[in-house]
Symmetry: C2
Subunit: 223 residues, 2 copies
Amino acid sequence: MKINVMTDILEANDRIAAANRQVFDRHRNLVLNLMSSPGAGKTTLLEKTAEALQGRLRLGIVVGDIETTRDKERLDRHGLPVVQLTTGSACHLDANMVSSALPHIDLAGVDVLVIENVGNLVCPAEFKVGEDFKVMILSVTEGDEKPLKYPLMFRESSLLLINKVDLLNHTNFSLNEAKANARKINPDMEIIDISCVTGQGIPEWMAWLAGCYQKKFGTKSRA
Amino acid sequence: MKINVMTDILEANDRIAAANRQVFDRHRNLVLNLMSSPGAGKTTLLEKTAEALQGRLRLGIVVGDIETTRDKERLDRHGLPVVQLTTGSACHLDANMVSSALPHIDLAGVDVLVIENVGNLVCPAEFKVGEDFKVMILSVTEGDEKPLKYPLMFRESSLLLINKVDLLNHTNFSLNEAKANARKINPDMEIIDISCVTGQGIPEWMAWLAGCYQKKFGTKSRA
């Protein structure tokens, strides 16, 4: 008998992810799985998103880190519901970890739930957590060839946010090259250039969020 | 009976790593396992290292990527012996993969062998490949809190290269904070600030390499 440990793990994970999804749908939550390399700007983007969404859609966050609660502390300052998952040594969130966070967040008070994954351009893309969409960030300091070198996350994500475009002049990153590479891997990928320093692209990111919410629930907001 | 799959995997890996190490020692190779996030600058550093080492120590490289042979193509231009390992979906190199590369490189013609790991701040730190030292790069665009959030790699590495210091003025990265965080995790860690754009820190990195070679083999170079 041959046991395929990885297939078994992913199948078990998918079942729990589907159960999480049912909980989210019942609470009318649009759920995003936000992934990137370490330091690409996930937490900073969420801080900007919290400000930009005020009075429109209510944001909630589950934040995954190997160690420390620093990201939660940063997000807490924005008065959001935030739950921290500390993974110990695991390099990604899985559906079971996210499930364990759900009793600690008031899902009925949330319209958009963002699950901020562990900083890692590889493993998080393999594990569903119950999300509607995977969204990823690539920062311009990482290099425009990254879609070809780490294809799975680009293939799995619906939206690519190219972050830190304010630093473009200080790098050899080509936006055109990065987009061409991303679309070679995933022709349907939507792409928005953003800067959390200048605010570029934040309105487009808000419009994308609102569009997804409307597509899922048929209204622009719960209010 | 309880089977601890992870412990078994790591023990098997360590045995192969020890065998690799014997091969390296027999060929008088100083071997470094070079790790970082995606886009922190591993390949660019190796290009600069190839130039700086010319006429001193002979560099050879094993380069690991999930997909593409782009890094090998960049390094080939420097006339170095380079072997590409394409891991498919694996998010790190292990000792067995490195073992499979060894027949394809003339180890007798190499003094310093750098094994460039997959870009990932988490998993590569768990797997020995036969190296004398682990060396890691943190780039200033990633954030100065990273040692606390991804402690294992900082704990396991002998040397931290803080890269892209030419971009310091464009970030909120504090060198002092980063070094204090790194030394909280690993008090013995050596740290060098570098920039592959300005060349800052490259002489110190060369001196570190030469010192390690001399410590291992009792001479400054084979020649």
